[in-house]
Amino acid sequence: MSFHLIRIRFLQSGRLLKELGLYSVLIVAAIIVGVYASHLAFNMQSGAVFLTGIILLTCLSIQSIRNDLHFISRHLQHPWMEIYSEYALMILPFAAAALFTANWYFFFILFACIGFIPLYKPVFRQRTMFRKMGRMISPQDFEWMSGIRRMYLYIFPLYTVAVLCCWLKILPLVLLWIITTLVVSFYEEGESLQVLRSPKLMPRAFLLYKITNPLLYLLLLFLPVLAVNVIFNPDFLLVNLIFIAAQLSLACFGIVFKYAMYVPGAKMRSNSIITGFVSMASVIPFFMPVPVIMTVIYYFKALKNLKPFLYA
């Protein structure tokens, strides 16, 4: 039996690590932390159930958005095995952490459950969702239109739960943070040069223009939830203020980072790893200034990168 997909993934990972340079150390560190956290979670019955659910949902959401399923089923000899082995390898370090706990059998539950995931074949939807979205969102914020269509299945439930639970202390903040992280992922595609040039602005004015509206959208989304949260938890006012500042700076970072790496028409998938780290930092107390620092650093890089593209 040959594992073509795994071989391709190894090659891709090697290329990605090379591209990331020093940031690859952070990936290794994140995996180690993840494995340790998994070990802690598997130690408790409820934690083990929760983590198993998270891992399975992650695999399912990857399966639902991947666009190589048609290729795999058409050209590879054992499609189920190829996909299964890929997910198995992906979850192995985290699932293996269960073997050293009292809930060791979750390891086998996980490996049995992911066997069903390759059987799920999502159908590409040709139907256009939210046709009237252009009336609420400026045409220049096409990233939001595109992102909402891609992510609405995650964003709407998360936001609904955040609204329904806005009187609770921590949960709404966690949910809003996940939403900001999803919003940052809207900015992982480089638009065409025609689109980039359409506002007819120089780099500095262009970046300001691109940042303003998304921050307003985020404020409009978050303020009602946070306001009610503060009414129920007055002692949380400062926390909420710091939270919103951190989330806005995270969104700013996502935008300037996109333009620091911008290549016309390129999909910048490796950006998600770095934005993921900055996103984590935005909710860890001592690391909260990280998004601000990164925004400043990448703002200047974006100015430099945009210069040849924007007539400067």
Binding site: P139, M145, S146, E189, L193, V195, Y311
Partner: protein, 228 residues
């Protein structure tokens, strides 16, 4: 008048355009023909301001060419995922006051309310062309605009280009195939090894095929006859 003078340009150490010059008065359609790798796209990228030339200059009406004056349809068109044709067109300000989308749509067969992902290559090309002609520019650059178009749309694009000429615009069009260029252009330039090696005015278009492919045709035809 667009005056291109002694442009040398390329990528890093590779020089693609080796000192090309050309003058195009307003209201003129100039066709660019060349083999793959001759430098057609590099020429367009220089005119659009994407590539800075190593040397030479470009002026429009006596002043340095401002790249905001150029509208560019690239060979391959990239569209942001999950947006509709209408949403894409709304990104661009309508500065061309004559542009009437509703009047054009019946001839373009574009489902503008659908996601661009669902479009064919030709539809994407038409959408990119519409976005450019929606804007009032002095110089329009169309790199391979006829790729992937059906016959009817091909004709519509030819007419669009001719209409731009009637509005006194300068249009540069490239193509792998001569036929559409012969229909719309006032002048055809042959780009070979980084220079415009030959130029044909409309009255000499019938000579292009013979001069470019005459000997080649005879030689290859003989080989083919003997080979099959």
């Amino acid at each position: 008048m667009l005056d291109i003078s002694q442009i040398t340009a390329g990528y890093e150490k590779k020089v693609v355009l080796q000192g090309i010059s050309h003058q195009a008065p307003s209201g003129r359609i100039v066709g660019i023909v060349g083999m793959n790798g001759a430098g057609k796209s590099t020429f367009f990228n220089v005119l659009a301001g994407i590539i800075k030339p190593f040397s030479g200059n470009m002026t429009f009406e006596g002043k340095p060419l401002n790249f905001r004056q150029t509208g560019y349809v690239e060979t391959t068109n990239y569209f942001y995922s999950m947006i509709t044709g209408h949403e894409y067109l709304r990104i661009f300000d309508q500065t061309n006051t004559h542009f009437n989308l509703e009047a054009l749509l019946p001839y373009l067969h574009l489902p503008l309310d659908d996601l661009i992902e669902t479009y064919s290559t030709g539809m994407k090309k038409k959408l990119a062309i519409l976005a450019v002609v929606k804007q009032d520019k002095q110089v329009y650059l169309f790199d391979e605009p006829f790729n992937g178009l059906d016959m009817e749309t091909n004709k519509v694009v030819e007419l669009l280009i001719t209409a731009l000429k009637d509005r006194n615009k300068i249009v540069f069009v490239s193509s792998h195939i001569l036929e559409p260029l012969i229909t719309v252009c006032d002048e055809i330039l042959i780009l070979e090894q980084g220079i415009f090696s030959r130029s044909y005015q409309q009255e000499n278009f019938d000579k292009i095929d013979q001069e470019l492919f005459g000997k080649f045709r005879e030689k290859v035809m003989e080989i083919i006859r003997n080979a099959i």
